[in-house]
C-alpha cells in the first residue's frame, strides 16, 4: 500500500505539471478527463503490481539454504604417522594423510534448493567441496491438510532410522556422527520411498504424541542399485511435551530388515569364538537386521544458563560385512568377496548444556561400538572386529545467527586386540577447530 500511495502522489505531481504546461499552451484538459486519465494509469499500475506480486509469490515458493564448514584437525600422535602403521581420523572427518598430523579442510559445503507448494515439496541438496560436487538429497514429498499429517516421500534422503541420522550436521554439537552410524549407515542417505506420519498442529493433542516413518530402500546408499533386494527401514517415535515445566521427552524405536546377496559360494559366520565357513551360499540373501532405540530429554528452565539436553541411542543386530570392514555397502558395483556375518552392538550418550548469556554450548559425548560381540581382546584378529570407545568434549560458540565456532576433542580408545599396533591403545586422538557459516 505504501508503494501504491507513493505512485498516486507521483501521478498527481506529474499530472499537475502537465496541467500547468497545458494551461501555458492554452490547451487545457477538463477535470473529468484528467481524472479518467489518472484512473486509467492507476488501473494499469495496479495490474502491473498484481502481476509482479504473482511473480514474487511464485519465487517465495523457492527456498535456498546452505552452510559451509571449514576446519583444522590435529592428531595428538606422531609415532605412527608416516610409517604406515595406522591411519588416524577416519571417523573424525576422514583419514589424515599418512605423513601429516594435521589437516585444514572444507568438511562440508552444502547448498539446498527446495520448492514448496501447498501439497508438495521437492528438494535437491549438493555437497560442494574441493574434492568435488556430490548429491546429498534429491527427493519429493506429498502431503495435504486432509491427510491428517500423513505424507509420501520418495527419492534420495536420510534413512528413517534413529535420531542422529536425521539430525543435521549443521545443527549437531559434535563434529561427526557416532562411529556406529558412520559404519552402518555411511552417507546417511539411501534411495527409496516411504510413508510418513508427522502430525500437524490441527490434530488433537493425543495424535501429536506419535510419529512414524516407514519405507523401502535400495540399501546401497546414494549409489546405483546393483541387485533387486530392497530393505525395510522404519522408526516409530513418541514426542511428549511437558510445556508447564519446559521439558520434553522424545523417544523412538527403529528397525532395519534387509539383506545383501552373496556372490561368493562361501560365507563366514561365528561359531562360539571362531569363524567358520558355510558353503553353498552363492546368490543367497544374507540378512541385514538392526534394532534401535533412542531417547532425547530436553529441559529449558535452568536458571541463568538456559537449557540442556540428554540424548542416547543404542543399536544392535546382524551386519553382513567383509573380512576387513564391517561397513554397509556404499558402492555402485557388487562385491564378490566373502561375506562375514557379525552380531554387533553400539550406543552413544550425549549431554549438551546451553550457556545462553555467553551464547555457548558445552558438549560431552561418549560413543561405543563393538562390531563383533562374539570375540574380544586377543581373540580379535581383524580391525573390523575391534571395538572402540570415543569420549568427546567440546565447546560451541554461536557468534550470530549465521556463524558458529566449535572446538572439540575426541579421545579414542581401541580394544586391545591380537594384532599390532592395536595390542595396546594407539594414540589416535583428534582435536577439531571448526567454523561454520549457515544461511
Amino acid at each position: 500500500m505504501k508503494i501504491k500511495n507513493l505512485l498516486i502522489v507521483a501521478l498527481m505531481i506529474w499530472s499537475s505539471a502537465i496541467a500547468q504546461n497545458d494551461s501555458v499552451a492554452g490547451n487545457s484538459i477538463s477535470e473529468a478527463e484528467k481524472i479518467t486519465q489518472l484512473e486509467d494509469k492507476l488501473k494499469g499500475l495496479e495490474e502491473s503490481y498484481l502481476e509482479t506480486k504473482g511473480d514474487v509469490n511464485k519465487l517465495k515458493k523457492i527456498k535456498v539454504s546452505g552452510y559451509v564448514q571449514a576446519q583444522l584437525r590435529v592428531a595428538t600422535d606422531t609415532s605412527g604417522i608416516g610409517k604406515g602403521k595406522y591411519k588416524i581420523g577416519k571417523f573424525q572427518g576422514g583419514d589424515l594423510a599418512s605423513d601429516s598430523r594435521s589437516v585444514l579442510q572444507i568438511r562440508r559445503g552444502r547448498i539446498k534448493v527446495a520448492y514448496e507448494n501447498s501439497y508438495s515439496q521437492m528438494a535437491v541438496q549438493l555437497d560442494c567441496i574441493p574434492k568435488g560436487v556430490s548429491i546429498k538429497d534429491a527427493y519429493m514429498r506429498f502431503s495435504a491438510p486432509w491427510l491428517y499429517g500423513f505424507g509420501i516421500k520418495a527419492g534420495v534422503y536420510d534413512r528413517p532410522f534413529g535420531f542422529e541420522i536425521s539430525y543435521s550436521s549443521s545443527s549437531r554439537e559434535s563434529p561427526e556422527r557416532s562411529r556406529m552410524f558412520q559404519t552402518l549407515f555411511p552417507g546417511e542417505r539411501d534411495m527409496g520411498a516411504s510413508i510418513e506420519y508427522i502430525p500437524n498442529d490441527n490434530l488433537p493433542s493425543w495424535a501429536q504424541l506419535f510419529n512414524l516413518k516407514l519405507g523401502r530402500f535400495a540399501g546401497n546408499g546414494i549409489n546405483d542399485e546393483f541387485d533387486d533386494i530392497r530393505d525395510w527401514i522404519g522408526r516409530f517415535g513418541l514426542s511428549i511435551p511437558l510445556n508447564s515445566i519446559n521439558m520434553a521427552i522424545d523417544a523412538g524405536f527403529s528397525g532395519y530388515a534387509g539383506a545383501i546377496r552373496s556372490l561368493n559360494d562361501t560365507l563366514k559366520e561365528m561359531s562360539d569364538t571362531l569363524w567358520v565357513s558355510r558353503l553353498g551360499k552363492k546368490n543367497k540373501e544374507i540378512d541385514r537386521q538392526y534394532f534401535g532405540g533412542d531417547m532425547q530429554i530436553y529441559y529449558g528452565n535452568i536458571p541463568v544458563l538456559g537449557g540442556m539436553s540428554l540424548r542416547g541411542e543404542v543399536i544392535g543386530g546382524q551386519q553382513p560385512g567383509r573380512a576387513s570392514s564391517n561397513e554397509s555397502p556404499k558402492s555402485s558395483a557388487a562385491d564378490a568377496s566373502m561375506i562375514y556375518v557379525r552380531n554387533f552392538i553400539g550406543f552413544y550418550t550425549m549431554a549438551v548444556l546451553n550457556i545462553d548469556p555467553l551464547k555457548c554450548q558445552l558438549v560431552g559425548k561418549y560413543d561405543f561400538f563393538d562390531p563383533n560381540i562374539e570375540i574380544e581382546k586377543t581373540g580379535v584378529k581383524s580391525l573390523a572386529d575391534a571395538s572402540f570407545k570415543t569420549l568427546g568434549l567440546g565447546l560451541v560458540y554461536h557468534w550470530d545467527e549465521n556463524v558458529k565456532i566449535m572446538a572439540y576433542f575426541d579421545k579414542i580408545t581401541n580394544e586391545e586386540i591380537g594384532i599390532d599396533p592395536y595390542k595396546k591403545d594407539i594414540n589416535d586422538n583428534v582435536f577439531t577447530l571448526r567454523i561454520q557459516y549457515k544461511f
Binding site: 500437524n200 511435551p241 529449558g300 565447546l395 572446538a407 582435536f431 577447530l433
Partner: protein, 277 residues
C-alpha cells in the same frame, strides 16, 4: 605439547569472544504486527519508570518473530498465534527448550467492511466461504450484487495462520486474496474499497465497519467488544502471546512481570485489546 597449546588458545579465544558479546542490558522485542502498537506502548510506559532500560520493538509478523527467537536475534517474540510444533522443534534443537509461553492479552479478530456495505452480520461458515473462494458475491450473504474483494495478511502473519487454522479449518485461502503487509494496510484497503472485506485485530478498526459474527444462522451475531469477548460470546477470540527462549531472569523478568501487572494490563485496555484478567 603443540596440541595442548592449540586447545588452550582455542578455548581462550572462544571464551573471550563469548564474554565480549555477553551482558547486554537492552531488551529486543520482535514479532506480531497485530501486537506492535501494544508492544510499543508497553515499552514507552516501562521506560518512563525505568530509564536505564532500553527496549526496542519491531514488527514483521509472528512467524518472523519466532524465527528471530530461534536465531537468537530477539529476547522476546510477540505472537498472535500459538507457536507451531515445527517451530518448537527448532527451538528445542538449538536451545533444548520448548520456549516459555506467556499470555499477555486477549484479542477478538474483527471482520472489517467498508462503511457503505449494507451487510452487517456473517456466520463463521459464510466467512470461511468468502475466504476460501466458495462465496464470491455480496449478494450471496445478503448484500449488493457485486464481487467480493478479499483482503488478508501475508503468510508471515500470526493472524493469517490463526485465521486459516481456526476459521478456514486448515483450508487454503482463495487465490484471489490481496495480501497486505500489515493490519493497518488491510484497514486502509477496506476503507477505500466499497466491496472489500478484511480481518485483523480490534485495535486497528476505527475507520471501518465491524461485522457482527454469528456461530451459525440460528445464533445471534456479536460485535468484537470487551463485554462480548470477556463473556465468551464473540466467536473469534484468541490470546496474544509473548515467547521467550527460557525462564526469564533479571531485567527481562522484571519487564514481563510489569506487563502482567495491573499497570501493564491497563495499557492493554488503552490500546484496544482485552486484559487477560
Amino acid at each position: 605439547m603443540k596440541i595442548k597449546k592449540i586447545i588452550m588458545i582455542s578455548g581462550v579465544l572462544v571464551s573471550a569472544a563469548a564474554l565480549a558479546f555477553a551482558a547486554s542490558t537492552s531488551i529486543t522485542v520482535k514479532g506480531s504486527d497485530t501486537m506492535v502498537i501494544l508492544a510499543q506502548r508497553w515499552a514507552e510506559e516501562y521506560m518512563k519508570s525505568n530509564p536505564n532500560t532500553s527496549i526496542q520493538v519491531t514488527g514483521g509478523g509472528s512467524g518472523t518473530g519466532i524465527s528471530a527467537l530461534i536465531n537468537g536475534t530477539t529476547d522476546i517474540c510477540n505472537a498472535s498465534r500459538p507457536m507451531k510444533g515445527s517451530e518448537r522443534d527448532k527451538l528445542k534443537q538449538r536451545y533444548s527448550s520448548l520456549g516459555v509461553e506467556i499470555k499477555t492479552a486477549k484479542d477478538g479478530i474483527s471482520l472489517y467492511l467498508n462503511a457503505d456495505n449494507p451487510v452487517s452480520e456473517l456466520t463463521l461458515e459464510q466467512i470461511k466461504g468468502i475466504y476460501t473462494g466458495m462465496i464470491t458475491s455480496w449478494k450471496d450473504v445478503g448484500g449488493n450484487d457485486s464481487k467480493i474483494i478479499v483482503y488478508g495478511r501475508d503468510n508471515s502473519s500470526g493472524t493469517y495462520v490463526y485465521f486459516r487454522d481456526v476459521i478456514l479449518k486448515g483450508q487454503d485461502y482463495t487465490g484471489n486474496i490481496q495480501s497486505m503487509p500489515g493490519t493497518a494496510a488491510v484497514v486502509n484497503a477496506v476503507e477505500k474499497d466499497a466491496n472489500g472485506i478484511g480481518y485483523g485485530g480490534a485495535a486497528y478498526g476505527n475507520r471501518i465497519k465491524y461485522v457482527k459474527v454469528k456461530v451459525d444462522q440460528n445464533t445471534p451475531g456479536y460485535d468484537p467488544t470487551l463485554e462480548n469477548i470477556k463473556a465468551g460470546k464473540y466467536p473469534i477470540t484468541r490470546y496474544l502471546y509473548m515467547y521467550l527462549k527460557s525462564k526469564p531472569a533479571g531485567e527481562l523478568k522484571k519487564y514481563i512481570d510489569w506487563i502482567l501487572s495491573d499497570e501493564g494490563q491497563a495499557v492493554v485496555s488503552k490500546v484496544g485489546y482485552f486484559p487477560i484478567r
